[in-house]
Assembly symmetry: T
Homo-oligomer: 151 residues x 12
C-alpha cells in the first residue's frame, strides 16, 4: 500500500524560521519521520512539495494508479484552488486534508476550504503531528474498506 | 490525566439507525472503546452526551478543574452556538472538535464552524475512529507541552 | 397509528395573552381538540411542549419507533436549529412543520426555515387550525403510502 | 361563497409526465375533485391556469368582487413576481399559497417566496391534496370571520 | 410629436379601490387628463396598460418609429424585468420612469429599479400628478434637444 | 408659502466646468430662474448650498417653522448620510429629492439613496429642469393638501 | 427529427436597428437560414418568438411530444425566469441556450443564467451564427445518443 | 415592584477565572450586591442563571405576572436566539439587555443582537456595574411610566 | 475631573418637536440637568452639540488633555463615521456611546455602530436618562481605575 | 491562419478515467481529431495542455503574433484566475472559452467565469464536440472579419 | 506649478500623541518639510487640514484653477465619502491618495477606498515619507505630460 | 543592501503592446533603469518575472536571507493568491506592493488586494515610475530602521 503525501506552497520553510512557533523540524525531517511511521503501519509513502499549484495537481494525478490514498496540505491554495479540488476528485482516492495550524482561528479568508469538500476528511491544528494522525486514520480507513471488499 | 468527552445532539442515535452507513457501533460502544484506548495511553476519560446546548455548556464548565483536555462533537450546534464557543474559551483547556462525517462535503450551512475557532484543532470525516485520532493527538499535545513546562 | 406532536418555545403561552389576537384557546385546549380530531381519523397523538431545544430533540428521537409521523411547530428554533433538522432526519418519519402565524409576513430573520428542508411539508398562517390541517394531510399521506405498500 | 383558484406556469403538465412522481391526476382532474369537495363545503370555486404572469394577475384582479377568497399556486413565479404579490394585495382577499412539492427541500432560489408575504398562509409538500387542505383552511377562516362579523 | 405612455401590472385598479389613498381617479381618467395636458403642450400621447410583461415589451417596441419619447410606470416589473430594460434600450427613445408611490419608502425589494438605468430619468412619489411632471419634463427635454439639432 | 431649497456638495461647481455636459448655467442662475418660477406659482424660495453635511442639516432644521416644504439635492451625501435623513424627518415637511443626473445609470454605489426614504418623492435625470418639476410637484401637493384641510 | 427554436423578448428587433452592430439580418432571415441548414442535417425546425414569458413557456411545453430537442434564446428572461427553467425541465428534452452577445462581458445582472442549469449546454457571443453552432451540436448529440440506444 | 434578572450561559463562571480581567466577584456576589441596591430603590429582584436557552425562556415567561420589568444578559444566546426574543416580547415587560463586555469591540459575529430589538434598551461594557445601571434605568423608567398612569 | 459631552446632528431639536414622544426637555435643559448631576458626583462636564461631523471630531480632539472621559451621542453619524471612531481612539479616553432611542429596534441601517467599537461601552433606549446612566458609569469606571493606579 | 488551443488543469486525464462518462477519447485523440477538422477548414492549430496557471498564461502570450485566434478550456482556473483573463486581454485575439460539461448545472462556485468576460464567446456542455463547435465558430468569425477588412 | 495638499480628519494630531508609533513630527513640520522638498522640485504647495468633510471638498474645489495637481489624505473619509470623490472628479486634476498607515492591514471597513477610484494613484504605508513619494510621483507625471503636450 | 524585485503574470508583455498606453519601455528596460537608480541609492536589486504563482513564491522565499527588502507587482495574483501573501509573511521582510495602473479605478474584482495586508505599503497608478518610488520609499524605510537599531 502506498500513500501520496502532497505539500503545498511555503511548507518548505518549516523549521527554517520561527522554530519556537512552528517547531524545529524541517519538512524533510517531518516527512522522514512520517515515512518511518508508515513503515510501522506496513505502508510506503511518496512525498512531494511544491510552491506551484499545477505541479501539485500533476503530483496528485501521477499517483492515480500507484497509490491507494492521498494526504494533502494545500497551504494557501486550500481557499482558492478549484483545480486541486478537481484533481482530488479525478484520482478518486480517499484523501485527507491536513493543516498544521487551526485555520478556523485565523483570518476570515482562511475559514473556507475549497478542497475539503472533495476529501474523505480533514485534520488541523496539531502541528506536524497532524500528518501522523492523518496517515493513521487513512490507513485504518483503507484497511477496513479492504476487509469489507474481501467478504 | 483526564479528558472530557462531550457529545452533542442526536449522537445518541449512533448505531441505532442506518448501521450500514454510520457503522453498527452505538455511542456507548464507541465511548467504551475510547476509554480502553485511553487507558493504553495512561489517561482517563469522562464522557457525556446531551441533546441540550446548555447541558453541554455545563459539562464543559464542570470539567474546568478536573480535566486537562476536551474533545467535543457539537453535532448540529457546531454551526450555531456562540455559547459552546464561549464555554470552550472559558475553561481554557486544549479542545479538539470531532465530526463523524466530513461537514465540508454536506449542506452549505454546515461549512462554517462557530466552535472550531476556540479549539486547538479539528478532525472530521473518519467516522468513530475520529475520536481515537483526537484523543491520540490531544494526549501527545498535552505530553509535549508538559515536557516543555518541566524544563 | 400514532403521531408525535412537538411544540417549541413560548407556545405554552397560547391563550394566556392577547387572546383577541392569538385566540382564547390554550395550547392544552388546542391539543385536546386535536386529540379528538385524531380519534375521528383513527389515529392517536402524543403531544409535548418544551422551551428547550434539546428536550424537543429528545422528544423527536423518542418517537422514532413508537410513531409513524411527526408534526412540529419549532417556534423560534425554526430559523436557527440545525439540531432539530438533524433530529427530524434521524427518525426518518414524515414530518409536517406548522406555524400559527405566516412567518413570511414578519421579520426578515423569520423568512428562512432551517427545519422545513427536512420535512414532508409546511403549513402556516392558519392559527390553531393549522394543526388540524397538518394532521389531516399527514394521515392522508400515510394512508396512501400504506396502500401503495400493500400492492 | 366563491373561491378563486389560480394555477401558474407549467402546472398544466400535471398528470401528463412522470405520473409515478407527480401522481396520475391531471390538473383538470384535480380541479374537478376540488370543485366536488368545495360543494361539500357549500362553496363554489372558479379555477384558472396560465403560463403567463400577467394573465394570472388579471385573473386575480377579476375576482376582486366575485370571490371571497383566493388559492394560488404561483409555480415558478413564486420566487420572482412582485406583480403577483401586488395583485394579491390589491384584491384584499385572504389568499392561501399552495405548492405541490416542498420548495424548502429544493434549489436555493426556491427558498424565498415573494408572494407569501401578501398571503394569509402557505401550504406546501402535500401534492394535489394541498389544494384540499388549503380550501378547507380558507373556508374555515372565512366562516369564523363571518361569524365574528355577525355579532 | 407623440409620446408613448406604458402602464404596467395592477395599475388598471387605480380609482377602483381605496380611493381615499390612491385618489378617486381611474387610470382612464388619469390618461384622459394627461392627453388634455399633452394637447396644451402640442404633443399627442398613446396610452396602454397591461398586466403582462411581454405585452408591455411589445407596446414599447411598437412605438419605436411612431413616437419621440416614452413614459413608463412598470409597476411590480420595475424590480425584476430585464426584458423591459432591454426594450427601452432597443427603441432608443428618451424614457421617463414614473411611480405613483415613493418606492424608496416601501419594502426592501422595491428599492432597486432594474429599468431606471435605461431611462433618461425617474419621477416618483407624486401620485397621478407624476405623469404630468414626467410629460412636462420629457417634452422640455425633447424640445431643447431639437433646438440644438436645428443649429 | 415658502420652500426651502438645499443643495449639497460640489453643486456650486455647476456651470463652471464642462458646460457642454452640465449646461452653461451656474447654480446661482438656476436658483434665480427657480425663484422667478416660484413667484409665478405664488411661493417664495430660500436657497442654500454647502459642501458640509452638518451645514445642510442646520439649513433643513432652520426651515422647520419658516417653510412649508423642502427640495433637496444632497449630492454625494445621498448615499451615505443618515444625518440628512434624520433632519428631513425631524422637520416633518414634505421633501422632494432632486438629482441632476440619473443616478441609476451611474456607479453601483450611487444606486441606493439613504435620504429618499424620508421624502415625499424623487425626481432625477432632468438636469436643472428637475428643480422646476420638483417645485411644481411640491406646490401642487401642498395646495391639494391645504384644500383638503379646508374642507 | 424536429427541433423547437424558441426566441425571447426583443429578439424580433434583430436587423431592424443598429445593423452595423447586430448585423443586417432580421430574425426571420436568421430562422430561414437556420431552417435551410437544418434540412442539410436532415432535421426540421419549428421557430417561435414572443415577448411574453408565459407564451414562451407554452411553446416549450407544446413541443414535448413533437420535438426531440430545444434551442432557446431566452433574452432578458435568462436571468430572472424560474418558469422557463421549469418548462425546460418539464419537457425533458436536451436544450441548448443561445445568446447572440457574450453576456459575461456585459452588466453584472447578466452574469447569472437561471435557465442554463436546466440545459444540456450553452453557446454565446457568436452572433446569429450561434444558432447554427447550437443546431449542429444538438443534432450531433441526439444522433450519438440514438446510436447508443440502437446498440 | 419586582424585577426579573436573567443570566445566560457561562455567566456562572464569573469570579472563578481570570479575576484580574473580569473582576473578583462571582455572579452570586454580583447578584447579592444588586439585591441590596434594589432594596435601596424599594424594589425586589429575583435572579436566575442557566446555561440552557429553554430554561432562560421559561424563567422569562414565569415572571410575566410576578414582575414589572426584566434585566437580561443573554450571553452567547444574544446573537442567535429568536426564542429568547420571542419570550421577551411574549411577557410584554420593559427589558434591559446587559453585557459585561463591549460586544461591539469583539468578534464580528457578536456585533448583531437578535434580542435587543425586543428590549427597551441596552447597556454594555461596564462590567458588573452594568447591572446597577440597568436596574437604576429600568426602575426610573417604570416609576415615570407609573406616574403618568396616575394622572 | 472633567467629562466631555458630545452631541451630534439633529439633537438640538430635542424638546422642540413631538414632546409627547421625545419628552419636553430641550437639549440645553438635559445638559443643565446633567451638569447638576455631575456636580453631585464631583466632576465637571463640558457639553457641545454640532450638526457637523468635523466639528464633533474637533470637539473630541480638543478635550484630549482637558478631560478624563467622553460621552458621545453621535446621532446619525453612529452608523457611517470612521472619522469619529478615529477621533475617539486618538484621544485615548474612556468613551461611552449614548442613544436616546433603542437603535436595535429601528431601521436595519441603524443596527451597526461604527463608533461603538472604539468605546468603553454603550447605553441606549433610556431617553435623556441615558446621559445620567452614562455619566454615573463612566465616573465609577474612572474612580475605580484611579484607585487601582494609586496602589 | 493558426489557432492556439489551450487546455487547463486535469484535462490530461480525459479518456483515462470513467470513459463511460467523459467518453473514451484521450485529450491527445481529441486534439488530433480537432487538427484534422482544422485542416478541412484550412487552418492550423497548436495545442497545449498544462496543469499550471502560469504555463497557460505563457502559452497564451506566446501565441500573440503567431496565431489569429484562441480556444481555451481553463478547467478549474475558470472561476479563480485573473491572470488568465489578463493574458487573454493582453494578446488581443478573439478567444472562445470551452467547457466539456455544463458548469451552470454543477457546484455554485462553478457558476461564475472570471475569464469569459475577456472572450468573444463561450461554448459549454457538448463534451469533446465543443472544441469543434468552437473552432467552427471562431474561424467563421475570423473569416467574416477579414472579409470586412478587405472591403 | 502648484500642488494642493489636503489632509483630513484627525491628522492634526500627528506628532502630538504616541510619537514612538507615528513619529515625532507634527503635521505642520511634515508640511514644512514637504514645502522645502517641493521647492527643490521647482513647485509650490498649498497645504490645508480640516476635520470637516465639506471644508475638504471646498479646499479641493478652490484649487481647481490655481493648482495643477492634488495630494489628498482623506483619513477616515476615505471609506465613506462620495462627496470627496465627486470633488476630485470635479476639479479634474491628477490626484494622489496618501495614507500614513497601510489600511489593507487594518480593520475590514478600511479595506475599500471610495476616493481612490477618482485618483491617478495611491501610496500607503510609508508614514510621513508617503507625502514626499506622492509629490515626487505627481510632479514627474505632470512634467512628462507637459512634455508630451509640447510636441 | 539587496532588494528583491518580483514581477507577476503578463508583466513580461510591457512595452510589447499598446506602447501609447503602457509606455514604450519593456520590463527589461524598466528593470535596468531601476537597477541604475538602485546603484545611486547604494543598493543592489535582483529582479525576476514569472507567470507562475509558485515560481513567484519560490523567488520570494529564496530571497529570505539574501535580501533586506522586497518589491512585488503580483499582477492578477494580487486579488486571488493566499500563497503569495503567506510567502511575504514567511520571509518577514518589508515588502512594497506596486501596481502600474490604479486598480481602484478598474473592475470590481480588482478592488481587493489579498497580498497588500502582508506588506509594509502599496504604490499604484504611477506607471513604471511606481517601481522607483517604491525603491526610494523602501530604502528610506530600511535606512531609518537601521539607524534606530544602531542607537
Amino acid at each position: 500500500m502506498q500513500i501520496n503525501i502532497i505539500n503545498g506552497p511555503n511548507l518548505g520553510m518549516l523549521g527554517l524560521r520561527e522554530p519556537q512557533i512552528y517547531g524545529a523540524l524541517t519538512l524533510d525531517q517531518i516527512m522522514h519521520g512520517l515515512a518511518e511511521y508508515a513503515r510501522s503501519l506496513n505502508v510506503r509513502i511518496s512525498a512531494a512539495q511544491s510552491n506551484e499549484e499545477g505541479v501539485l495537481v500533476s503530483h496528485i494525478l501521477a499517483g492515480r494508479e500507484l497509490c491507494q490514498g492521498l494526504i494533502i496540505n494545500p497551504g494557501g491554495f486550500t481557499h482558492t484552488s478549484v483545480a486541486l479540488r478537481d484533481a482530488i476528485q479525478a484520482v478518486d482516492l480517499p484523501c485527507v486534508e491536513v493543516h498544521i495550524s487551526n485555520t478556523a482561528a485565523r483570518d476570515d479568508f482562511r475559514h473556507r476550504s475549497l478542497t475539503a469538500g472533495a476529501c474523505l476528511g480533514q485534520i488541523m491544528g496539531f502541528g506536524p503531528m497532524g500528518y501522523h494522525l492523518a496517515l493513521n486514520g487513512l490507513v485504518e480507513y483503507l484497511n477496513s474498506r479492504n476487509n469489507k471488499d474481501d467478504l
